[in-house]
């Protein structure tokens, strides 16, 4: 059992992440709280801990943020204002490798994917992550009819990951309007962390 606290206030990226990594790399850290004072550090430390297999909770602590990662059987003392990660029973990752659903008629396929995205929120808190790759990235760019729906999901706490290689391939990097541009390692890591992966390609 090894709980640690790290004070990274006053430090800009990438230092909070590098220091967090140093501690995580030591192994046997079941709970780690990292204090940061800027949003970029909060996001990056959270993301790093998630990638390292931790359940992550970020909470305001005065003007600062306390990012707490837990893993193993340990369960940290949790405040009532938990982020959805801690309250969800399980984590569902939906991978969309297409901008239309099914084969047979493309117009119907586009309608179906619009309906699918619009209905995804019915998964509730269990919907953890939406990954868009290949033509799926077209859903996340300016002009997409589904942009508002995906932005709504993101605002509700769903992590939206958009394949950077795919955006680049379609020359849409500049047009992306929602989600985080990411790489295959990140996508694979999130698939590994998810309790259930639903793949539509």
């Amino acid at each position: 059992m090894n709980n640690r606290e790290l004070d990274c206030r006053g430090q800009a990226c990438p230092h909070p992440v590098l220091k967090t990594k140093e501690i995580v790399d030591q192994g046997n850290v079941l709970e780690l709280t990292v204090l940061v004072d800027n949003d970029a550090a909060r996001q990056n430390v959270s993301r790093f801990l998630e990638r390292s297999g931790y359940e992550v909770q970020a909470a305001a602590r005065g003007a600062d943020f306390a990012v707490t990662g837990t893993r193993g059987q340990e369960s940290a003392a949790i405040t009532p204002e938990d982020t959805w990660e801690e309250t969800a029973a399980r984590k569902i990752l939906v991978l969309l490798g297409t901008d239309r659903l099914g084969t047979g008629d493309d117009d119907l396929g586009r309608k179906l994917i619009a309906s699918f995205i619009g209905t995804l929120k019915e998964m509730g808190r269990e919907l953890w992550c939406l990954v868009l790759l290949n033509a799926g990235v077209k859903l996340a760019v300016a002009g997409s009819e589904l942009l508002a729906s995906i932005q709504e999901l993101e605002e509700d706490g769903v992590m939206v990951l958009v394949c950077g290689t795919c955006l680049n391939h379609f020359q849409l990097l500049e047009q992306k309007q929602v989600g985080e541009t990411t790489n295959m390692l990140d996508i694979v890591t999130h698939m590994q962390l998810a309790d259930q992966v639903i793949s539509l390609t």
Binding site: C13, P14, A40, N44
Partner: protein, 77 residues
């Protein structure tokens, strides 16, 4: 493996590069103006290739600058 020319590749994330070669931080900072944003804030988990594409940077030049900075560290453990 400690040769920066071999150890810094386009497939590495910025975080991996920084972790292995701390002196590269100044290079990423230098590219902030060109990228019009904080690479170390917003692209830490991107690969160098992805970050270059995303921010319109010359990947070959970035790699060269990173390798030069890393080489300046001397041999690393």
């Amino acid at each position: 493996m400690s040769d920066p020319h071999e150890s810094i590749t386009p497939e590495m994330t910025l975080l991996e590069v920084l972790h292995q070669h701390r002196r590269t931080e100044s290079v990423f900072r230098r590219y902030e103006r060109e990228a019009r944003g904080c690479l170390l804030c917003h692209a830490l988990f991107d690969t160098l290739a992805e970050a270059a594409a995303k921010y319109g940077l010359d990947l070959d030049r970035l790699l060269q600058d990173l390798r030069e900075a890393a080489a300046g560290e001397g041999h690393e453990s």
